[in-house]
Amino acid sequence: MSDGGGASPAGASPAGAGPATPAAAAPAGAGPATAAGAGPGARRLFVLLKVAPRPADVYFSASRAAVDATNAEREIGARDRTALEVARILAAEAGAGAGADAGTAGVEVAALSWAPEGDEKVLRAALATGATRLLHITTPLDEAAAADPLVVASGLAAALGRGEPWLVLCGDESADESRGAVGPMVAALLGWPFIGGVVRAKWAGGGAGGAGGASGEATLEVEAEEGPNLVSYVVRPPAVLAVNRHGPAPKAASPLQLMKAFRQPVERLEVEVAAPALKVRSLATTEVRRRLNEPIPGAAEDALAMLWAKLRERRVI
């Protein structure tokens, strides 16, 4: 796969960074470009991206008792794209000129993904929609390991540990596994606070002034949905924020931005793969339960009253 042309951003370490460095050159445990892409003291917003088959394209193969995603289009999860948009907005508010043409000012948006090598072209969309760097963990992950959130979180936390992140954002659920486990696990492994269900994040004080400059204290005002409540938080990073579907709508990339993204370097890195603790024993389509098909007689109000009594009896409401 070609990484396109262009030099590595200033400060990139040779291992695993840039198009000229093969992935194999970055040994497990070696550091990638910790300072790549931004000047010293830059705040690095890392966004965790998962590439998964589009759910609508996935079918169940009864003969193989397996989920068949052979012909499914692979894409970055919708909530991860929303998380990237939150990061892009934060960078823009801090005056970093975020977006596809972002510079290397005080706030940098780095996308990090553990995905098969073939997904790199999918991941490049992140470079067109707000990320200034793309870090791609190319260590092969078999199906069992990929299905275990502890394995994935451990690898991501190891990679983040080398990247000097200031804030980590991710989607609160993936399209395929719908676990919502990786965010809190990464936070725990890094020893950082975690907030899920995030719908908004902004600099406390607003705009670039709120970013506190490259070296000053900066805090974020975060709103998160928790059950029936909307809760406000003041966050002093480092922290991990998981963004839900009510975050800002993801930015669509223009063809020009996509072309530029395909010329930008991708930093490849490798991590150690932990032994999976979960074992998937079988897969099945969701069963269709037998239904009661019980008629409720009467006109609207009477029928509704009778229905409600039956639902209470069954403890449905």
């Binding site: 589009r54 759910p55 609508a56 996935v58 989920v67 069992a144 502890l150 979180a153 451990s154 399209a175 719908s178 676990r179 486990a181 809190p184 696990m185 725990a188 492994l189 020893g191 950082w192 606070p193 975690f194 907030i195 975060v222 998160a224 928790e226 029936p228 409540n229 909307l230 809760v231 406000s232 938080y233 003041v234 966050v235 480092p238 922290a239 839900n244 009510h246 932990a274 032994a275 999976p276 603790a277 979960l278 074992k279 024993r281 897969l283 099945a284 969701t286 069963e287 269709v288 239904r291 019980e294 008629p295 409720i296 609207a300 109000e301 509704l304 229905l307 069954r314 449905v316 409401i317």
Partner: protein
Amino acid sequence: MPETRIIGELCDGCGECVRACPFFAVDVVHGKAALAESCADCGICAPACPQGAVAVRGGAAGAGPARGAAGRGAWVWGGGDAAGEVDPDAAAVAAAARAVVEAEGEPVAAVLPWQPAGGAAALAALGVDEVIVIPGGDQPAAVAAALAAALAAEKPRLVLGSAGAAARRAVAGAAALAKVAFAAGALELEVSGGGAEFTRLIYGGRFTARVSAAAPVACTLDRRAYGRPRAGGGAPPLRTLEVAAEGGAATGAESGGSVTRGKVGPLTQAVPLAEARMVLAGGLHLAPAQGAAEAFALLERTARALGGAAACDREAAEAGLAGGVPVVDAAAGATIAPDLYIALGLDGSPTHNGAIARAKVVVAVTQNEAAPILTVADYVISAEPMAVLQALAKMAGVA
């Protein structure tokens, strides 16, 4: 080297151990079972072997600090969102835990990061045999680290949490630190031998995966796996477990990061469709086309007032009747699993009916006697859909 050993003379190469091993550490080579270096000495393969050809020596060495060394009982995470709060679903999770471990004669304990503000009444309502307080402060990282340390110290067989955000944060975080298996949204949980098995939904509920892991296993439950809380009973004994979390990273003390919880208010938007426990869905026949906009607006307001979400089928959306109401349709990957799904004036295409296959109760309100929705409905009301919606709105206090 693993402490577990295969007795070659007894092994007949049947492969039962291969199927039992949650770590993929056993294979059959030249007709005999062979253990890989990755064997965690969990011992699950021993009872699975019909020939008694697996010898497990000593205690479990384990691949991680806690894995493969499970003790007895189930823990239920009871911490709520804010200091002093108890997770409102903890009693239902405790009831589910009891159903799983009671047959083994094992206890259920609630684990809290703080003394509950509700005192003895709050403890009694949990319906557990014991309450364990592990003081860890109110910072998420410290709470997860304290739970992980407690888990490593006492080695329960199961650690369960509710579907709420606080439980997921604490239980998933602790599982990561303790290096024990974790899964979210568990259904049909069972324990056997040295492990646990459960089902979870993947791809938005379209498929199920049956998953196993060696104990201890940490998971959050799908709401449909909740049990019925036990009524009555006195406050269970309470003890405080002082545990030292290992390392600065584990405690969160050295990261410098913090979160401060501030204002709490009601959501300004309806519950997300995928997370709603009650869904009101409208179809082409909810109201005549000229009144459809008002009808779907009333549907949304009523759903919100009832604490649920509004939806429509693809036919109503494509006809432009439903405004911005989200579509339920398996072909679009929009499958849901609410406790209650009320379909008003909706015929029910095969892809729509597939999308609601995991709903606990389906109510069809239709006057179309040939509507396919009738084949998947638990209750059928043959009244005018709009009249039923208006009655629902009145009941919910919607003007």
